[in-house]
């Protein structure tokens, strides 16, 4: 048998690095995982969810509706409440049309939203611009679809716009601009660096993209992934790209309730222009013709009852404390040669070792850490396969999401000892 039974997509799709890390964690119960992007177990709103579900399922009429199929776009009330919530977060800008529930689809986590956008817009050989580094599961989606990623260097306040301009110009010159479909930004407390993109940078990126649309021959979208947005514990909220006047037909916004509320429900959403929405809804019709109605009712009731907002206050306090614990531990245990980027929200610190010290899974640092039962995400996994630059290999994503405070201290102490040890040699 010589012919392939698997499709090209099937053959291209690689094992996600996350699977291997998760399997490693499961196989070593003693392990302290600073790798997983899990939320804090003790913070999960068990009582709130129980109460809400009891209410929903306490009425035969509401309960039956929740246990029946819904629509492909998702529950109207949840879309309305989510749109209103986003509009308020953005400070109620003058153009409310961008926040219309009619532009929204409810998805299985924001992950499904990212997947469907890629399906809707990208053919094999197309190009997506991403932050350098970026979210590794999204990079996996691109790779699976045969889409090429171009990494754009980051600065303290997000994307390096000069670099974005240079990459667009180079693509225009090489005649490849028509293969570019979108720029993907994790704009709040970025996964993996913890950095937040300023409002000015979002506007600057949109302006740049528009300048190249004529040469591209089609719209160039900004996909803004706001997954961590509501996990802010210090600093000011930044408005989303939806609030940028005159550009709402170029912005695709992905959000989720997995991070700020009940992770295991996996309810996400997307807001997007009509052409994209029409296509995404058709694709969603084929994926599953609508997300679980019960979970959507749960989220709608969490929002309308005020429990969601209340929970968020407690959650932010909790993550603020865990981030403080990690910061203190890093200060105490990490060598001064290691540069640690501190977030204002989200779940991640980003540590940059001296360039001579590799951090990938085959490296001494990683292996010694594993031997001491502590796990981090090697930074190289977060870089796209972009042949135009070398993949950095001296960074680590360290999460304070899943581990307890005691384990954060212990884990960082172990990691620090490994780093001191490796730097001495």
């Amino acid at each position: 048998m010589k012919a392939h039974v698997l499709s090209q997509l099937g053959r291209r799709t690689e094992v996600p690095p996350i699977s291997w890390l998760m399997a490693t964690a499961l196989a070593r119960p003693q392990l302290i995982s600073l790798a997983a992007g899990f939320t804090d177990n003790a913070s999960l709103p068990v009582n709130e969810v129980r109460g809400l579900l009891k209410g929903i399922l306490g009425s035969a009429r509401i309960g039956q509706a929740a246990l029946q199929y819904g629509t492909t776009a998702g529950d109207e009330t949840l879309r309305r409440l989510t749109a209103r919530h986003l509009y308020a977060l953005d400070g109620r800008p003058a153009a409310p049309r961008a926040y219309s529930p009619d532009r929204m689809v409810i998805t299985n986590g924001s992950q499904q939203m990212l997947y469907m956008i890629t399906e809707a817009l990208c053919d094999p050989g197309d190009i997506v611009l991403v932050e350098d580094p970026s979210y590794f599961v999204f990079l996996g989606i691109l790779q699976s679809h045969g889409v090429r990623a171009r990494g754009i260097r980051m600065q303290q306040d997000g994307l390096d716009l000069t670099r974005l301009g240079a990459v667009l110009e180079a693509l225009k010159r090489s005649g490849e601009l028509r293969r570019v479909k979108m720029l993907y930004l994790i704009s709040y407390y970025q996964n993996p660096t913890g950095r937040t993109t300023s409002f000015e940078k979002k506007a600057g990126a949109l302006k740049l993209l528009r300048r190249y649309e004529r040469a591209a021959g089609h719209p160039l979208y900004l996909v803004e992934d706001g997954a961590y947005r509501e996990l802010r514990f210090q600093g000011e909220d930044v408005k989303s790209a939806l609030a940028i006047k005159g550009y709402s037909d170029r912005v695709i916004y992905a959000g989720t309730y997995s991070k700020p509320f009940a992770t295991g429900t996996r309810v996400g959403f997307g807001l997007m222009p009509e052409l994209v929405l029409t296509t995404v809804l058709r694709i969603k019709g084929n994926h599953d013709f609508g997300s679980s109605n019960l979970l959507q009712q749960l989220l709608a009731h969490a929002l309308s009852s005020g429990l969601y907002d209340k929970h968020l206050v407690a959650l932010r306090r909790r993550y603020a404390r865990k981030a403080r614990v990690m910061r203190a531990a890093l200060k105490q245990h990490f060598p001064t040669e290691v540069e640690c980027w501190e977030p204002d929200g989200g779940l991640y610190f980003w540590a940059r070792l001296p360039q001579r010290l590799p951090s990938d899974s085959a490296s001494k640092v990683f292996q010694k850490a594993l031997a001491k039962n502590v796990l981090y995400v090697p930074g190289n996994l977060c870089y796209a396969n972009d042949p135009t630059r070398r993949k950095p290999n001296h960074e680590m994503r360290i999460s304070y999401g899943g581990a307890t405070e005691a384990n954060l201290r212990k884990g960082i102490a172990r990691l620090g000892a490994v780093l001191h040890d490796c730097l001495r040699k």
Copy 2:
């Protein structure tokens, strides 16, 4: 702007016919829909689900686990219980390996399973063999992926194997056999015809497929969709293709808890050979890296507590009664020239009008029915775009799932009047 911003998939994906039917139903609140594949509202286990969730969320430990991320393959307990349940349904055959939970993935309805299988196996231009007629949402998935469907005529007990052999032989002669990836069967109370495939026919189909594998150059899979299996209210259960000795590495089985238990939870599953599973799990990692853990816990507890089995008894009784109501109404109101296929389970009757009477959405029958506020699924929507045969256009799928008994009677009376009227002219 001349270049396309949408992908080929994005441009290919059509509005699902189901959306239009649903929108029509929503726009006319007076309408009696015999079209929707909804389950019976009053049958939904509202109290059972409330009790189970109260238990799960009553313990901080179990509750937190349920509200945290799970694994991509799905909850181990749910996979174990589901595998055991299937094994028992199949009469505990001698080869239990086919039912191993390690061969299983939990999905968002069985729909996601069908989607991922298509992604894993099919490139544009590939061929999938389907029943004629078949499940229209699956036909939409194929069309979206540029996959060609070949329809195989059905008989009383499933696929016409002679026809299957002839199609395989013709494809071999035309050199297209290597584009064939799978045969898709809705083997229990088929959507749309209500027909059940006999065990002998499943075995015969597998044998035939194997005979052509050498010429294909790769495995030819049988995808068995058992979505309606447990909604049996008369006749004997038929063993699944998993029970056929020596063929488990060629069978992909898709199942769901949406139909037999709590529809709005959308928990489905698939069992498949290792090569396919590995690929599907990687794809699932990109789709959503795992279905809602809370819903999986719910189903696991429903199974382990016995509530699932208990609910099924009541559910079957209910559908048996609704099917009887519909049968009596059809007998009373439909012209004798209309042939009605009566199911032993599931949700659908299939009515075949005289060939001269078209039933598509532009037809007199459909339009008159709509004017009388009654909706059915035109049979032509259930036929693949197979250029090798003419699409039949004189059938209707009539569901007793969603409507109340009173509305079943009223709806069939109205439809019958329309048919009498159209036949007179």
